[in-house]
């Protein structure tokens, strides 16, 4: 099918884009990489009357280190993040996630900010940013505010973004020493959206005991699902395979996945157990290597 008609504007600065957004509000949509929005427009699931193209706004595309945080501009393309040395070094979980997102052609266009703002429950970056305690800077013509990742995702395709707001950048704390990470997912084909997935971030102290543990699932519920204290009980203990197994079982018992055309709830629960265990295990292995 073909998209419905719309008015097209292509501002060259962030301020111009925000003014346009303030003017048109609900009627308008910003377009970043278009890799999720255009399919929706092609099928007329989205019919914005004004399309504000962000692709000419150079100031929104960057990856830089600022104090102890990585700052990623909203319009930074997936492919840039995938190949960036700062990301590989300071946010290896993001580096690992990138090649699991869609296909190379889609990563050449799709953006970091677009993926987060779109809030597809199966998008890797939703769980990854929550697991890393990222923060997002939202800006409107009236001002700006920072929202932590774990308060940003409201539901399927629903976020904290107001109709006049744009996501302009993400701030990600630099991985501390002795930290391990892993992303595990299961999809039908290499580039498909995952039927379920889990992102883990762990750390070990000098004695080999767990000093931090985080496990966040995606494609299990409408929003990234943090295993929270089910996993935090690992802290202060040696992360043996048996202990990891029991922790992951407790975490899975609290999940309430849903059925859809991609997978049944029962299968998702099974995947959550397996992928959660693998993610934690691999994260601890990496933390142990880091510690040596």
């Amino acid at each position: 099918m073909k998209p419905a008609s719309f008015e097209y504007v292509a501002p060259t600065t962030l301020d111009q884009a925000l003014e346009r957004l303030a003017e048109h509000g609900f009627e308008a949509k910003v377009i970043a990489g278009g890799q999720s929005l255009i399919p929706m427009m092609n099928f007329r699931l989205a019919q914005p009357s004004v399309l504000i193209d962000l692709n000419k706004i150079a100031e929104l595309s960057y990856i830089r280190l600022k104090d102890d945080e990585l700052r990623i501009g909203a319009m930074t393309r997936h492919v840039q993040v995938e190949r960036d040395a700062l990301i590989a070094r300071h946010a290896p979980l993001i580096h690992e996630a990138m090649t699991k997102i869609a296909t190379p052609q889609i990563r050449n266009r799709g953006t970091f900010g677009g993926s987060i703002a779109h809030a597809d429950p199966a998008a890797e970056l939703t769980a990854v940013t929550v697991a890393l305690d990222a923060r997002f800077r939202l800006q409107s013509a009236g001002g700006e505010r920072w929202v932590p990742a774990d308060e940003f995702f409201f539901g399927m395709f629903a976020t904290a973004l107001g109709p006049d707001e744009m996501l302009v950048e993400a701030a990600i704390p630099v991985a501390p020493e002795r930290t391990g990470y892993a992303l595990e997912e299961e999809a039908r084909r290499a580039h498909d959206f995952a039927m379920a997935g889990a992102a883990a971030v762990t750390a070990l102290d000098e004695g080999g005991k767990c000093s931090a543990a985080r496990l966040v699932y995606f494609s299990i519920g409408d929003v990234p699902t943090d295993a929270g204290d089910a996993v935090a009980v690992l802290i202060g203990k040696e992360p043996t395979p048996d202990l990891i197994q029991s922790v992951v079982d407790t975490a899975a018992d609290r999940l309430e996945p849903s059925d859809d055309i991609h997978a049944t709830a029962e299968f998702r629960l099974h995947l959550a157990r397996v992928l959660g265990r693998r993610a934690l295990q691999r994260a601890f292995e990496r933390a142990a290597v880091e510690a040596n």
Binding site: P3, G34, N42, P104, Q105
Partner: protein, 162 residues
């Protein structure tokens, strides 16, 4: 109908100027406005890869861009490769290794794989597989396509092309 917007694009080293509606997809622009029908359209949702072209040297889905967004950019389509008499090394390898049957998917595969080989033809099995990951083929079972890419890569290394 919304206002027409003037678009100037460089396609296969030739400049084209057209006035289009903002909602016109780049894939439709290439096929219907420029009459370059080598770029195929399968799904219009980014999944099949048949519409893959190169935008400023990078493989992208032409069904997931509006023509107005290509204004001022360089586009390369399958028509830029060889001719019937003189196939491009990659096209010739597809022919020799039976990398196609119906051929519907072929332009997309060629445009996805070429930037990878042009960047560095000394490719590993894994690199080849990754380069093919975003294109669907309902006929060949992929093995022959992989063989074709390998063959082309070897020829490009031997011929010092890149």
């Amino acid at each position: 109908m919304s206002e027409l917007i003037e678009v100037t694009v460089n396609v296969n080293s030739e400049e084209y100027r057209r006035s289009v509606e903002p909602r016109m997809l780049l894939s439709d622009f290439i096929r219907h406005e420029l009459s370059l029908s080598g770029t195929h359209v399968g799904c219009e949702q980014g999944v099949c890869g048949a519409c893959t072209i190169q935008l400023d040297g990078a493989a992208v889905r032409s069904c997931l861009m509006f023509a107005v967004q290509a204004d001022g950019h360089q586009i390369r389509t399958v028509e830029d490769l060889g001719t019937m008499d003189e196939l491009h090394t990659l096209q010739e390898a597809f022919w020799e290794a039976h990398g196609l049957q119906c051929g519907f998917c072929t332009p997309g595969f060629l445009m996805s794989i070429l930037p990878v080989l042009e960047e560095n033809p000394e490719v590993s099995e894994e690199t080849i597989q990754r380069a093919m990951e975003g294109n669907l083929c309902r006929c060949t079972g992929y093995q022959h396509i992989r063989d074709a890419v390998k063959q082309a890569a070897e020829k490009m290394v031997a011929g010092g092309e890149a």
